[in-house]
Symmetry: C2
């Protein structure tokens, strides 16, 4: 089964059956992360995928490498939401759409909410993407303020505040969590567009968002 | 050391040394609950209090009875915040004060946030107090709406939404959590007083608030 020098036709450097195993692992891990967050043991993933633990570790030597693979698509989707928002000629509409979409993703998938902001030590590409997403968000904030639609005392740190609050919206079902998240987000967007006294912004780190395992931010 | 028939002067049915033990347990349990939530094992509480596990269980046969004792004062304080809010001639100011105080309590004490809304099976008095607090809150909502200060589509379920969101504000230090909670609450109060489209309210149970172990609601 193993052996990189195998003469059997390979797909991305893996034989077809190994590729199937790999796809199965990624699919199962995605379902388990969504359900229970990133704390699911590697052994539980191997069991559900019907592969041995040794096989799992041969494909993914670390939990981080598996997380990176599972969420690569969703992560890219998240960054492309920022790009779309920046492309919107109405920066406030772009800002709202961005906040709504990211919070909806976070509400329905506990693993994703963790993976989006986690700095995965060996996933430099994800880190770079995350930085790009944050820079895009900052630019959107600047434009929405310049358009007079976002209150001037909105702080970029408030994005973390929002993600922390939204991360507290964990209900028994994904449906209830999504509905609750939508209402919370609507309340907060109303407030972001309004005025009224605010305490000073709080310098929060993404690592303060619940259920996130970050090694650095 | 034991023996309820002892002739040594008793305080509340306990000898002075037993009373000291009991007070020490309650103090230590309060500190540990605040720090780590209600999941702290009874054995850890006994160890920190410097008593044997048997002694701990003799004083508090269940975790619930210990939790009820630890938070009785804070729980009463919480209900009296509702009473104060109702006594305020300005119902909107009363409403804001109530929300701010309860969220601040929740932000700085993870154990308290759990205990406030947990239905402790054997703590009927706490349950009754909780019902009284919720009825008072409903009355305050009615008055603040009648005064035209609280948006008419504010739902009592939004209190749970607020507690869930605020429960997500868990930072590394109580200071940061309190500051973050204050900013979140200020944003939400601004929105509660304003208008703008909202998705329908979500029927949430207090058991959906993170870190709460509720047996029923």
């Amino acid at each position: 089964m193993s052996g990189t020098a195998s003469r059997i036709p390979a797909v991305d450097g893996l034989r077809a059956d190994a590729r199937q195993n790999r796809d199965r692992i990624v699919e199962v891990a995605g379902a388990l992360f969504a359900e229970r967050g990133l704390d699911v043991p590697m052994a539980a993933i191997a069991r559900r995928a019907g592969v041995g633990v040794a096989t799992l570790y041969r494909r993914f030597p670390t939990k981080e490498s598996l997380v990176a693979e599972v969420f690569a698509d969703q992560f890219a989707a998240c960054v492309s939401v920022v790009d779309e928002a920046l492309a919107d000629p109405d920066p406030w509409r772009g800002f709202c759409t961005l906040v709504e979409k990211v919070c909806a993703m976070q509400a329905v998938d506990r693993g994703f909410s963790a993976a989006v902001v986690a700095s995965l030590p060996h996933a430099i590409d994800l880190d770079r993407e995350r930085e790009r997403g944050l820079r895009g968000f900052a630019e959107l904030v600047r434009r929405a303020k310049a358009a007079g639609r976002l209150r001037p005392d909105f702080s970029e740190d408030d994005l973390v505040l929002l993600l922390m609050a939204n991360g507290g919206i964990v209900a028994h079902s994904a449906d209830a969590a999504l509905a609750a998240s939508r209402r919370l987000v609507a309340y907060l967007l109303t407030s972001f567009a309004g005025d009224g006294p605010l305490p000073p912004p709080v310098a929060l780190s993404l690592r303060d968002v619940p259920h996130l395992a970050t090694s650095r931010t």
